[in-house]
Amino acid sequence: MSDDAARPLTGIETEVPPLELVAVHAAYGGIEVLHGIDLAVASGEVVALLGANGAGKSTTVKVCAGLLRPTAGALRVAGHDVTGAPSHELARVGVCTVPEGRGVFPNLTVRENLWMATQVTGDLAALEEAAYARFPRLGERRTQLAGTMSGGEQQMLAMSRALVTDPAVLLLDELSMGLAPIIVQQLYEIVAQIAHEGISILVVEQFAQAVLGIADRAAIMVNGEITRVGTPAEMQSELSSAYLGG
């Protein structure tokens, strides 16, 4: 990929990006799945990482979150090389992940799930107030077991739990997984609001149309490589070949 593609395009190019991947290679055992990823997410920017199943999108998120150590290349946070830092340390400094499958505790209530995050923030009342203000539905279901809520509500809870940790970078893995299109649209509207607050967001998404409406930039992954980076409008024509291999 060219240097131009790796650089943010949203008018903050001189700023050190909160999250940056530089020539990252990653492997599961002997099988290399990322072959030199270059990507930067600027402050307050939404970058959509698109691609077909098995392209390496979720692996890229794992590298960003510190769950998978790159075999080569560097992960930089605010310009500092943090390659190899454990995931809990990255979360502590402000790189938070909403994993594929949401990762809420199904046998705990909404409140109890939020309480889990108080280990970081400490103030339960403020935490709940902020979460319910952003997602009023969660307030209505505060005493309900998370596992019995709808997929959309669980996703809201997962996002709330990440947001109460005051992240600087938010990694969203397959937000639309298992959700109806209208729910996905509502969730991405909230993601856009979060980005306006200045949080940098990297969204991994298989269903491109769901996220292109709110993304500042989009990158297409094919077979462990980023083949194209550009604005959502520029990406439209590239998507069919990326998904269909044409």
Partner: protein, 130 residues
């Protein structure tokens, strides 16, 4: 938000990189090595003590043998502690995963019953991009 970015910069600068990731494996290996060395050295010291005539030499070698036995016990404890931590971490993840899968099945079944066999709209997948 500039404050948050500044905080991110300072926190990232202080991040300890690459120290914690393989620590469990390192301690596990050290424990295994201490256990092996302790057993071998204890046996060797005891065997040597049998060939000595001077009681002071015998006492010294037997003290060494007991010390090596202690090293083997400590090594075994360290090895067990880090082996169990790895295993229990994996077991906990598996329990969480299976619990989530079970609850998903129950919720899906309840949704199906409510809708008289029709799948819940909130759980249908979005259509892939054409």
């Amino acid at each position: 938000m500039n404050d948050r970015i500044e905080r991110l910069k300072s926190d990232a600068a202080e991040l300890k990189v690459g120290k914690g990731a393989g620590r469990d494996g390192l301690y596990q290996t050290l424990g295994a090595v201490a256990m092996g060395v302790g057993v071998v050295m204890a046996f060797a010291a005891y065997q040597l003590s049998l060939a000595k005539d001077d009681t002071r030499d015998i006492a010294s070698l037997q003290i060494l043998a007991i010390s090596m036995l202690a090293l083997a016990v400590v090594g075994a404890a360290v090895f067990l502690r880090y082996s169990l931590a790895r295993f229990l971490r994996f077991w906990l993840l598996r329990q969480l995963y299976e619990g989530q899968a079970h609850i998903d099945q129950v919720v899906a079944a309840l949704g199906d019953r409510d809708d008289n066999g029709a799948p819940s709209s909130d759980r249908s997948r979005t259509a892939p991009l054409s």
